[in-house]
C-alpha cells in the first residue's frame, strides 16, 4: 500500500460511459489522482473531449458500443491488465407500466444491466483483472432505495445490477477482487437535463433533497475514486448511497 491510500497512482482503470456526465467526471478525477485511464463510449468526439480534460498520463481511448457483442469483446481484448473497472454507461427512460414494451425493456436493461454483467464476466474470463482489483458499478438510488412513477424498468435494472454486484463481491472475494456500487440520486448531467423534465418538475424534485440541490457529477466521481483506491481495501459488496440525503425523507 502506498503512503497515501487514497491515491490511484500506478493503477490502470477502465471507465465505460466516459463521454459525459459521471463517466467523464470519474475519468478526470481518477487521472488527477494519478491513474492511467482507458475511456470508452460510443461518441468519438465526446470521448476526445474527455481525453483532453485528463491529467497527463499514458491514457487510451477505445470507441465501442457495448450493446454490440463484438465491440464489447474487442474492448476487453484491447485492454491491458486492469486494477480497476468503472462500469458506468447507463440509459434512462420513463415509461409507465401500462405502456411498457419489450423494446423499451431491452433498450434500458441491455445497457443498465446486461452490459455490466457481460463486461465483468469477459474481463474475468480473459484474466484482465489483477488480484486486488476494484470494480465499481454506477447503480442508482432508484430501485435500490426508492421507486418513483414511470421508472419501473430503470429501477428494476438497477436493483438487478446491485444484486449482481453483491453476488460478484461474494464470488470474487477469494481472488481479492472487490466489487461495489455507487448509488446516486439526481445528478446534474445530460441524463436529467434532456427534455424529460420541466424546470418546475426539477425544482419540485430538488425540494426532496435535504442538501437543497442535485449532485454535481464530480461528487459521484469522488465516491468512485474512493472505492477504487486502497483506502477502501476492506469494502466489498457495498452500495454507496450518494444522494444528498434524499432517501432520508
Amino acid at each position: 500500500m502506498q503512503d497515501n491510500p487514497f491515491s490511484l497512482a500506478g493503477k490502470t482503470i477502465l471507465i465505460t460511459g466516459a463521454s459525459s456526465g459521471i463517466g467523464r467526471a470519474t475519468a478526470i478525477a481518477c487521472s488527477t489522482m494519478g491513474a492511467r485511464i482507458i475511456i470508452t463510449g460510443r461518441n468519438a468526439e465526446a470521448l476526445a473531449k474527455t481525453r483532453s480534460l485528463l491529467a497527463e498520463n499514458d491514457h487510451s481511448v477505445i470507441l465501442a458500443d457495448l450493446s454490440v457483442d463484438d465491440d464489447l469483446e474487442n474492448l476487453v481484448d484491447e485492454c491491458p491488465t486492469l486494477n480497476g473497472l468503472v462500469c458506468n454507461a447507463g440509459v434512462g427512460g420513463l415509461i409507465p407500466i401500462q405502456n411498457i414494451t419489450k423494446k423499451g425493456i431491452d433498450r434500458i436493461s441491455s445497457i443498465d444491466l446486461v452490459v455490466p454483467m457481460l463486461i465483468l464476466k469477459s474481463l474475468l474470463r480473459k484474466k484482465k483483472l489483477v488480484k486486488d482489483a476494484s470494480v465499481v458499478f454506477t447503480s442508482s438510488a432508484a430501485g435500490v432505495y426508492r421507486v418513483s412513477p414511470g421508472n419501473a424498468i430503470y429501477a428494476a435494472a438497477k436493483c438487478g445490477l446491485d444484486a449482481y454486484m453483491r453476488t460478484a463481491a461474494l464470488e470474487l472475494g477469494h481472488k481479492g477482487i472487490r466489487v461495489n456500487s455507487v448509488n446516486p440520486g439526481m445528478v446534474n448531467t445530460p441524463f436529467i437535463n434532456g427534455d424529460l423534465f420541466s424546470e418546475e418538475q426539477l425544482e419540485s424534485e430538488r425540494r426532496n433533497y435535504p442538501l437543497g440541490r442535485f449532485a454535481e457529477p464530480e461528487e459521484i466521481a469522488y465516491g468512485i475514486v474512493f472505492l477504487l483506491s486502497d483506502a477502501a481495501s476492506f469494502i466489498t459488496g457495498t452500495s454507496l448511497k450518494i444522494d444528498g440525503g434524499m432517501t432520508l425523507k
Binding site: Q98, D195, L196
Partner: protein, 76 residues
C-alpha cells in the same frame, strides 16, 4: 397517420374519461385525469404507435390534442 386514430390511441390511455370527450380541440391538460404520469403515457404511446420520440417540452407546447398531433406529424 390520421387524427382519428391518434385521438383513439390518446383516449385509450385514460380510464375514467369517456372516449367521446376526446376531440381535436380538447384541451387535454384541463382534463381531471391528466397528470405527469399521464404525460409519460402519452409520450410512450406515441413512441410505440408511431415510432416517434417526443419530449416533455412538446407536451408543454401543445394545448389541444390537435396541437400535439401536428407536433408528432412534423417529426415524421
Amino acid at each position: 397517420m390520421n387524427i382519428n386514430d391518434f385521438i383513439r390511441h390518446f383516449a385509450e390511455q385514460f380510464d375514467d374519461t369517456a372516449a367521446e370527450i376526446f376531440k381535436p380541440e380538447t384541451e387535454f391538460k384541463n382534463l381531471d385525469e391528466w397528470s405527469s404520469l399521464m404525460a409519460l403515457s402519452i409520450i410512450s404511446m406515441i413512441d410505440e404507435e408511431y415510432d416517434i420520440s417526443i419530449g416533455g417540452s412538446d407536451i408543454r407546447n401543445a394545448k389541444t390534442i390537435e396541437d400535439l398531433y401536428r407536433i408528432v406529424e412534423n417529426k415524421k
